[in-house]
């Protein structure tokens, strides 16, 4: 999902990541959000053209749902 900080679900995301695709929130030992994995829309679109084997090889297999739901 593309980060839009005006939406409440992205209120914890830093401004510097606005407009990127949120792949994953990283949580620290205390359960608090301790980082983000993101990608540009261009990178996501590029990955959408790849096969399942290629996605797995490039570390994108776990984000398949995000690829499928991102335009």
């Amino acid at each position: 999902m593309i980060i839009d900080r005006k939406r409440p679900e992205f209120s914890d995301v830093p401004e510097s990541l606005e407009g990127e695709v949120l792949l994953e929130r990283i949580y620290g030992p205390d359960g608090e959000v301790a980082g983000f994995v993101t990608a540009s829309l261009e990178a996501v679109r590029s990955m959408k053209t790849k096969s399942a084997e290629e996605l797995s090889a490039e570390g994108w297999a776990r984000y398949r749902d995000i690829l499928d739901t991102t335009e």
């Binding site: 830093p14 401004e15 510097s16 990541l17 990127e20 792949l23 990283i26 620290g28 030992p29 959000v33 301790a34 980082g35 983000f36 994995v37 993101t38 990608a39 540009s40 990178a43 590029s46 990955m47 090889a57 490039e58 570390g59 994108w60 984000y63």
Partner: protein
């Protein structure tokens, strides 16, 4: 900080046993000790309010100096990692770590580059595979870009 207006007086056991008189000396000592404590607690205002009187600003209580520039040396820094872990980053994606001081090491197949957010854009180092070492991250404007064809794994310790 205003000095206490009354001196502290130690009250001896012999002044408060069963046979001791409740005399002016004892009552004055008790009163002065309370006044001394009041001065210690309330500072110049001499009054109790809902606000905290002691903020160590050098006026209402003794100033507590902040840490001076260049005052923290390596010996004063905790060398025990606060946490350790690893982060997988798919090819073409980035990881924005939470705020902290990190020591990074890349796995052999990783080709990561450090990025900082300056002037509204992410600026990337020009050498893939160069993030190993100590990095400061603020949780928003510093991150790791993975350019490795197979994705990257970054191992880290935080301090």
């Amino acid at each position: 900080m205003a000095l206490p207006t009354r001196n502290w007086t130690d009250i001896q056991d012999g002044q408060v046993d069963a046979d001791s008189p409740l005399d002016t000396t004892l009552i004055t000592s008790i009163r002065d000790n309370i006044e001394n404590l009041k001065s210690q607690l309330t500072g110049e205002s001499g009054t109790y309010t809902a606000a905290q009187e002691h903020d160590h600003d050098g006026v209402n209580s003794k100033e507590v100096a902040s840490v001076a520039d260049d005052a923290v040396t390596g010996a004063k820094i905790d060398k025990t990692p606060a946490s350790t872990g690893s982060q997988a980053i798919p090819n073409g994606a980035t990881w924005t770590p939470g705020a902290g001081v990190y020591q990074f090491v890349e796995s052999g197949s990783s080709y990561c580059q450090f990025e900082i957010y300056v002037g509204g854009s992410w600026r990337r180092t020009n050498t893939p595979g160069d993030i190993s070492g100590i990095k400061y991250c603020d949780g928003a404007n510093m991150r790791v870009f993975s350019g490795g064809a197979g994705g990257s794994t970054v191992y880290y310790q935080t301090f």
